[in-house]
């Protein structure tokens, strides 16, 4: 078993009172708070680089894979409990699964395997109720060597969608052959209305046999290298992004933490998250030190697609919430090439891909999409200026991710007392859930299920002196 997860430190939030009286953040005070958080982000760069090396170093951006030894990867997943931070300053009790001896994390690890692998998952349960895992989209899953079947009690009532790891120390071993590539989900099949919502879920990515062709070094989502149009994507370290959408009802979490009952008729999400974080935490790096239990960022970090950088980037969408969620990327539509772990093709191989600027994933659904950003107009301050007179900072309100200049790779003067987050005039272009009442964190607007695409100038970012 090889994991690229560094050691995480227990969040000392465990000692914190879980405060259901949320701090009211008036809009006038919210942005300074975010500015402070982002200053931390800049300071973090050094801390990130000092992170102890893991077997496989994760990139600061892009999907973080937990991998095993192909063709027989084995993952030991143990339940943990802990707290996550939300953008309104709250901390929320959650359950999770962690690989090996790792501490609590949310969401559970992104398991990446290769097509044809025989995947083994050993589930250890320390919780006080039975749990299980199901693997939608995988066939012939075994539990302790026997075909997985739904579980019924003596009275014939359905108790679990799969054999369980019994409460208080039980274990079960699941195995299956990852027979086809795609993006999948694994989640609890026992009392899922509680257990999935408490965090017993994660992403499962199956890479096609042709994905890592040692000769070509080319990367695909599906086995379509020979087709007229393919799933090949740009495999820069941050060229593959996970958008795992979930929701949290803090009252459910509170009831579970206190060992109280919870009437699911009262279930009412107050937080919507991407990769277990809410914006602006979503754009913090993977394994940001101030998000010790929320390791996965959601920043899409790219360069413009052009003749020297021709391949599009890859975005994998998963919805583990209980309602359809529309996700809207600005400026970079999702060209959907896979749905629920199947290439979007007809029986004769024809391409049935579709392009969306509002991609709606239903509960449990996954999409694989290609995206890019093209410097279409090629605006240049000297040779091709924007066709307006820039009113400048005295006449406009500048956002903190604006560089002060309309031009990619340039920065401009900023209002006194305000500084830009831009390092080298890179662009920050947002992507977010467009059911906008969900783009909030229990009342704090413009937080939650949103992230950025960061577009660096061609060749990459060299910070301004």
């Amino acid at each position: 078993m090889v994991s690229d997860q560094p050691n995480l430190f227990e969040r000392n939030a465990r000692e914190k009172e879980f405060d259901m009286h949320k701090v009211f953040l008036a809009r006038k005070f919210f942005w300074p708070a975010i500015a402070a958080a982002l200053l931390l982000l800049l300071l973090f760069v050094a801390a990130y680089r000092a992170r102890p090396a893991a077997a496989q170093m994760a990139s600061s951006d892009g999907m973080v894979c937990t991998t095993g030894a192909s063709p027989n990867p084995t993952f030991v997943l143990t339940t943990r409990t802990g707290y996550i931070g939300t953008p309104d300053g709250n901390v929320v009790f959650m359950w999770g699964l962690s690989e090996g001896g790792n501490p609590f994390q949310h969401p559970s690890p992104v398991l990446c395997v290769n097509e044809g692998d025989t995947v083994t998952i050993i589930l250890h349960n320390t919780l006080s109720q039975d749990i299980s895992l199901i693997f939608p989209g995988q066939e012939n899953v075994l539990a302790d060597g026997q075909p997985v079947q739904p579980q019924f009690d003596a009275g014939g009532l359905l108790t679990s969608l799969a054999p369980v790891a019994a409460a208080n120390g039980g274990s079960v071993t699941y195995s299956f052959v990852a027979s086809h590539p795609g993006t999948f989900l694994y989640e609890s099949g026992t009392n899922p209305g509680i257990q999935v919502r408490m965090g017993l879920f994660g992403a499962l990515v199956v890479r096609p046999v042709i994905a890592s062709d040692p000769n070509g070094g080319r990367y695909f989502a599906y086995n379509d290298a020979g087709a007229a149009v393919t799933s090949e994507f740009n495999h820069s370290p941050s060229g593959e992004v996970l958008i795992l959408q979930s929701e949290v009802d803090p009252y459910l979490s509170q009831a579970i933490e206190r060992g109280q009952g919870f009437n699911l008729n009262n279930y009412h999400p107050r937080y919507w998250l991407v990769n277990g974080r809410g914006f602006p935490d979503t754009i913090a790096p993977n394994y940001a030190s101030w998000l010790p239990s929320q390791p996965y960022g959601a920043l899409a970090h790219v360069q413009p697609v052009d003749s020297s950088n021709p391949l599009w980037y890859m975005e994998r969408f998963i919805n583990v919430s209980s309602q359809p969620l529309p996700f809207h990327p600005h400026g970079k539509n999702a060209v959907v090439i896979g749905r629920d772990g199947q290439p979007v093709r007809g029986d004769a191989g024809e391409d049935l891909s579709f392009e969306r600027f509002a991609l709606v994933a239903a509960p449990g659904q996954t999409y694989d999409s290609l995206f890019h950003w093209h410097n279409r107009e090629g605006y240049d301050s000297a040779t091709n200026p924007v066709p307006v007179v820039d009113p400048g900072w005295a006449n406009l309100q500048y956002g903190m991710y604006y560089s002060g200049s309309p031009y990619l790779g340039m920065t401009g003067p900023f209002p006194p007392g305000m500084s830009t987050m831009s390092e080298c005039g890179e662009y920050y272009i947002i992507a977010h859930n467009h059911a906008l009442f969900q783009l909030t964190s229990w009342g704090v607007p413009m937080t939650g299920p949103g992230t950025f695409m960061r577009v660096d100038p061609p060749g990459g970012c060299s910070p301004m002196p």
């Binding site: 809009r27 007229a228 149009v229 999400p269 107050r270 359809p324 529309p326 809207h328 600005h330 400026g331 970079k332 539509n333 060209v335 007809g346 024809e350 391409d351 049935l352 891909s353 579709f354 392009e355 969306r356 600027f357 509002a358 709606v360 410097n375 279409r376 107009e377 605006y379 091709n384 924007v386 066709p387 307006v388 007179v389 009113p391 006449n395 406009l396 309100q397 500048y398 956002g399 903190m400 991710y401 604006y402 309309p406 990619l408 662009y427 920050y428 272009i429 947002i430 467009h434 059911a435 906008l436 009442f437 969900q438 783009l439 909030t440 229990w442 009342g443 607007p445 413009m446 950025f452």
Partner: protein, 439 residues
């Protein structure tokens, strides 16, 4: 654009209307946007930067009308609303051609939905925005932006997302420049405090006409949704169907200096082009974005008998002759799902999110349906052929409505309302050709 061109009266758009791409290299070259002129002549940078806008929006607040009964005390109708209005909004107004005094007069005179407009593929479009402030909320100094939702490869400067870009404070102006390369149906909205500003009404529909327009060989009208190459998206009439919602409590909160808890969101009213049925059938006010009609103060002129719809000028009534092809352009900036159902007539979905229904290898993926599930932020282009006229009434009536029944009534149990309108099919030749969408 050179200084010899008379502002507004000969726009680039009008010029291209004359005859498609062939004329581009002739005397009109200087009229073309810089990106099309490259290679023809040097760009006149200074004049390009000061060219007049094609459209001019003002962001402000205002009041609109929704059926006052049944009431939702204390939120609806809002007791602060001047008669005949019921509901506080933020919104845009089209102030193209108005004097500075007239523009200033439009504070507190926002409309919903925001003015419908359109651009042409490969023709630069300049949208100027000013911010008049919020009369009911002197404590709020919110900036505004225009975010053209779905515009591919937008640079942050013209994207209107305020964190990565610039926003327009009160009393200031900014011009967004769009060079549309992709025909189809889009939407736009203010992106400042976006859950609030979008929900309060700063949302509208915009579409891009394809370069194929004017080619009568593929379809007699020469009007198309996309550059289809085969006339499959040709149409005779087009109707924008902008879907928004009103949560009465949130609107009341903004008028009464309160904040709603957004995760408690509910759609009390579901609106079609800013109105609920049967107001959706009422006549248009001033809806031609390029030739707005106002009174001497610059205000919208109410249609006699429809004074309550003064700030909701866009009609959803679909009228057509039997046998004609009708394009419905749907876009949603509500926060919940709509399922728009057309009774008795099948629609062909030819576009989604400003993309023709074709695979990357050209495979036709368009489809027939009578119900379209539309989520927030999505758009669809659907074409139907008006069935034969049956009579004996002057027209046959078909209903277009949201099958989520909660959204096709006005809170009245058993009553019809909300996102609902009528398609009226007349005998062939009854209606003259359409000149403006939604007419």
């Amino acid at each position: 654009m050179t200084k010899t061109v008379t502002p507004r009266r000969i726009s680039r758009r009008d010029f291209l209307k004359i005859g498609g791409g062939v004329l581009l290299a002739t005397a009109g070259a200087k009229l073309l946007p810089a990106f099309m002129r490259r290679g023809i002549e040097l760009v006149d940078v200074a004049s390009a930067q000061t060219a007049p806008p094609d459209l001019f929006f003002a962001g402000t607040d205002g009041w609109i009308y929704l059926p006052p009964t049944p009431a939702i005390p204390p939120y609806h109708p809002d007791t602060l609303a001047p008669a005949p209005f019921t509901t506080y909004i933020f919104g845009f107004r089209n102030v193209l051609g108005l004097t500075p005094t007239q523009i200033a007069n439009q504070k507190m005179k926002a409309q919903h939905t925001a003015p419908l407009f359109w651009a042409r593929q490969e023709v630069e479009f300049r949208l100027k925005l000013t911010n008049l402030g919020l009369q009911m909320r002197p404590d709020l100094t919110d900036a505004h932006t225009v975010h053209w939702h779905g515009f591919r490869d937008a640079i942050p400067y013209f994207d209107g997302e305020p964190h990565g870009s610039v926003a327009v404070p009160m009393g200031k102006e900014f011009t967004y420049v769009y060079r549309p390369h992709d025909p189809g149906t889009y939407m736009f909205h203010c992106h400042v405090e976006d859950v609030e500003h979008v929900h309060m009404g700063m949302a509208g529909l915009v579409f891009v006409r394809p370069q194929q327009d004017g080619n009568t060989a593929l379809y007699p009208s020469g009007k198309y949704a996309y550059n289809d190459g085969d006339g499959s998206t040709g149409f005779d009439r087009e109707f924008a169907m902008m879907l928004t919602e009103v949560w009465a409590e949130a609107h009341w909160d903004d008028a009464h200096i309160q904040l709603p808890e957004w995760s408690d969101y509910r759609a009390d009213f579901a609106l079609l082009n800013g109105r609920v049925y049967p107001d959706t059938l009422a006549p248009n006010g001033s809806i031609d974005p390029f030739n707005p009609i106002t009174d001497a103060n610059g205000d919208l002129v109410p249609t006699p008998g429809y004074e309550h719809l003064q700030y909701q000028p866009l009609s959803s009534l679909v009228q057509c002759n039997a046998g004609e092809r009708v394009l419905l352009r749907f876009a949603s900036l509500g926060f919940t799902q709509s399922v728009m159902t057309l009774t008795g007539i099948k629609m062909r979905v030819v576009g989604e999110d400003a993309t023709p229904k074709r695979g990357r290898d050209g495979t036709d993926t368009s489809y027939w349906t009578d119900s379209l599930s539309i989520y927030p932020g999505a758009s669809y282009d659907a074409i139907f052929t008006a069935p034969p006229y049956q009579g004996p009434a002057p027209y046959d009536t078909y209903l277009l409505y949201n099958r989520s029944y909660r959204h096709s009534n006005n809170l009245e149990a058993g009553g019809f309302g909300g996102q609902m309108t009528e398609v009226r099919v007349f005998p062939p030749g009854t209606l003259p050709p359409q000149t403006i969408p939604n007419t």
